[in-house]
């Protein structure tokens, strides 16, 4: 989805943003605390074009989730520049970053993060609540999103009645609602058994083949190998892995 935004010109000392890039990180760093400071990310450069599937791998505590939070506009880098779809995220206010998340980014979490007291359909519809779109046709759009992940038959179920794999599919349907520019997945198969993992990965394959930009954080090599491109984080440093 193209984020609905007006255009304006800015001169960039580091060079103009790449028009094809949906995610562009230039020397991004993230440090937590001050006494002593903990460096989570060091000089990270990343260039991701539309329609790419990227896996970020690395051991626990290496900075994978920190990087995903920055890419997802949930956190701010302490140094460097981050451009999302040619927008300088570092210059945005809190509200503007929230709008960017609402309109351009879909999230899939390891723990699914579905609201237990809302039906599957209502959980998916929640994705449009903060976009200001009319409620007219929202249920139909949510059902279409559920259709993409093969979950329309569970629309009226509560999440607690679904298997882990089904819950993750619902979470993916929610993330796909409104057609985001990027789907960010944080350990999406971390809580799933092998059957459900394969089911979810197959879904990602289909979405990637359909042109969706995917960023998957994982520490599982088999999951990472399904992505078209892989990067590795070690002690906050990002290195490109050999492509298959």
């Amino acid at each position: 989805m193209e984020v609905a935004m007006d255009a304006f010109d800015v001169r960039w000392p580091e060079g103009p943003p790449d028009a094809a890039a949906v995610i562009e990180l230039r020397s991004v760093g993230r440090t937590f605390g001050a006494d002593p400071p903990v460096v989570a990310l060091r000089e990270v450069n990343l260039h991701l074009t539309h329609g790419t599937s990227l896996a970020i791998v690395g051991p626990s505590g290496s900075g994978k989730s920190t990087l995903l939070n920055i890419v997802g506009c949930l956190d701010r880098p302490t140094s460097g520049t981050y451009l999302f779809d040619r927008i300088d995220v570092g210059a945005l206010t809190d509200d503007q970053r929230a709008a960017l998340r609402a309109e351009g980014i879909g999230f899939v979490f390891q723990t699914f993060n579905l609201l237990a007291h809302r039906t599957v359909l209502e959980n998916v519809m929640l994705a449009e609540v903060y976009r200001g779109r009319s409620i007219e046709g929202r249920a139909e759009r949510a059902l279409e999103s559920l259709r993409r992940v093969g979950m329309t038959h569970r629309a009226d179920f509560l999440p607690t009645r679904l298997s882990g794999g089904e819950q993750q599919r619902v979470a993916i349907a929610r993330a796909l609602m409104g057609e985001p520019s990027v789907l960010l997945c944080d350990e999406p198969t971390g809580n799933l058994d092998s059957v459900n993992t394969e089911s979810v990965l197959s879904l990602f394959d289909e979405l990637g083949a359909a042109g969706l930009t995917l960023v998957i954080v994982t520490h599982e090599e088999p999951v990472a190998r399904r992505a078209r491109r892989r990067v590795r984080i070690t002690d906050g440093r990002l290195t490109e892995e050999d492509q298959p």
Partner: protein, 408 residues
């Protein structure tokens, strides 16, 4: 070239209301218990205001025209007390000249010097013999001033008093003691060795209940026969609303040279009485209602805060989905306000029912200012709003990353 982002996330009021409602319905039992505090507080407040007004109205209702028009003028302590001869013999006429006096008369105890009374001519050995009978002397207008009801016969008049006729009017109890039930056979009684004709029997009086057991003679008779020095006190019935005026004017009319020799016993102002009763009730019950409301407010604040802490993950999810801080704050604020409003509505209804129920059992007329049941829900909502402010701000201040991490 870069692009300019949207100014901020947007949320439709209908979506906000829907999310707040869903948040409340997700925990119905807890919400019900939380609302209960406000229900009790608002209910107590409405019931207090209504019952105090109803009770005060009832008191005023009991405080009827009879009591509100009753004045008794008697010698003051400075004049020497009850036995002092201050009131003039023409007190009745003087009082009746005052504009606002409906009826007036004077009354005195007559000292018969131990003389006993007995009925004649029948000397029945089985009947009670001579009895000690309270004797009173009254001006003719007294009977009207005390609203005496005549059972049979007639009352004495100014002529009887002027001529000092030996006539008596008996109170119903006195007549019963003397065995006199009718006057058509011209009964008479002896008081000591003096014979008095009974010309009338009273059925009752609305004031001066002592008359029920007494024999009443004209003042002129008491003056000549027993040396009555002056009327003991004056009984006045005023017109409605004139009691204050007559209470001020009566001493001047009866003792122009020194009004301070007389004291006036007038009823309290019913408006002041109602105000005093209302204030007493209000002070007590408003305090109880206020405490209940405070407890309700603390309950809402506490539950909303607990709800925020429990829903950190949900807050993180909503922030990830694009909710701004103000949307998070607005949702929690709306939830707490809705709880307060619901408590206010139910409380106002229950409070009104209590007023109607109590009034029905007491056969009172329920009285309630219309703004009380209408304003009570608004008060509940205001309490919910105030109680939810801190938890809402706390929810809004959560960073999305921290909220997502804490909620997993």
């Amino acid at each position: 070239m870069t692009r300019r982002p949207s100014p901020g996330p947007r949320m439709r009021p209908r979506d906000l209301a829907g999310e707040a409602l869903a948040g409340l319905l997700a925990r119905p039992a807890r919400v019900a218990l939380t609302v209960l505090g406000t229900v009790i507080g608002v209910g107590a407040l409405v019931a207090t205001l209504g019952l105090s007004k109803t009770a005060a109205n009832q008191i005023v209702g009991h405080f009827d025209a009879l009591a509100a028009t009753d004045i008794v003028v008697s010698p003051s302590a400075r004049a020497g007390g009850a036995g002092a001869a201050v009131l003039p013999w023409d007190a009745e006429a003087r009082l009746l000249r005052l504009n606002g006096v409906a009826a007036a008369g004077t009354l005195s105890d007559v000292d018969v010097r131990g003389a006993l009374a007995r009925s004649v001519p029948i000397n029945d050995p089985l009947a009670a013999g001579a009895i000690q009978l309270p004797m009173k002397a009254a001006s003719p207008g007294l009977f009207r001033a005390v609203r005496a009801q005549l059972a049979t016969g007639r009352l004495f008049d100014a002529g009887h008093s002027r001529r000092a006729d030996r006539v008596l009017v008996l109170g119903p109890n006195a007549a019963r003691r003397l065995g006199i039930a009718r006057v058509d056979q011209q009964p008479a009684i002896f008081v000591g060795d003096r014979l008095y004709a009974v010309i009338g029997l009273l059925a009752g009086v609305r004031r001066q209940a002592a008359l029920l057991g007494a024999a009443i003679m004209p003042e002129g008779t008491a003056r000549r026969e027993f040396g009555l020095r002056a009327p003991a006190f004056a009984q006045v019935e005023t017109r409605i609303g004139a009691v204050d005026l007559i209470a001020r004017q009566a001493p001047l009319a009866l003792s122009p040279s020194d009004p301070g020799l007389l004291k006036v016993a007038a009823p309290p102002d019913p408006r002041q009485l109602r105000g005093a009763v209302k204030n007493d009730l209000n002070a007590l019950f408003l305090l109880l209602g206020g405490v209940s409301l405070l407890v309700g407010a603390i309950g809402i604040a506490n539950v909303t805060l607990v709800s925020v802490l429990e829903r950190v993950g949900e807050i993180g999810l909503r922030r990830a989905l694009g909710a701004g801080r103000r949307h998070i704050a607005a949702q929690f604020l709306l939830e707490s306000t809705a709880m307060g409003l619901a408590g206010g509505l139910i409380g106002a209804s229950l409070g009104t029912l209590v007023i109607v129920g109590v009034s029905a059992t007491k056969t009172w007329t329920p009285v309630l200012d219309p703004w009380v049941p209408l304003g009570a829900p608004a008060l509940g909502a205001l309490i919910g709003l105030a109680s939810g402010t801190y938890p809402s701000l706390r929810a809004a201040s959560l960073e999305p990353v921290e909220a997502l991490r804490a909620g997993t």
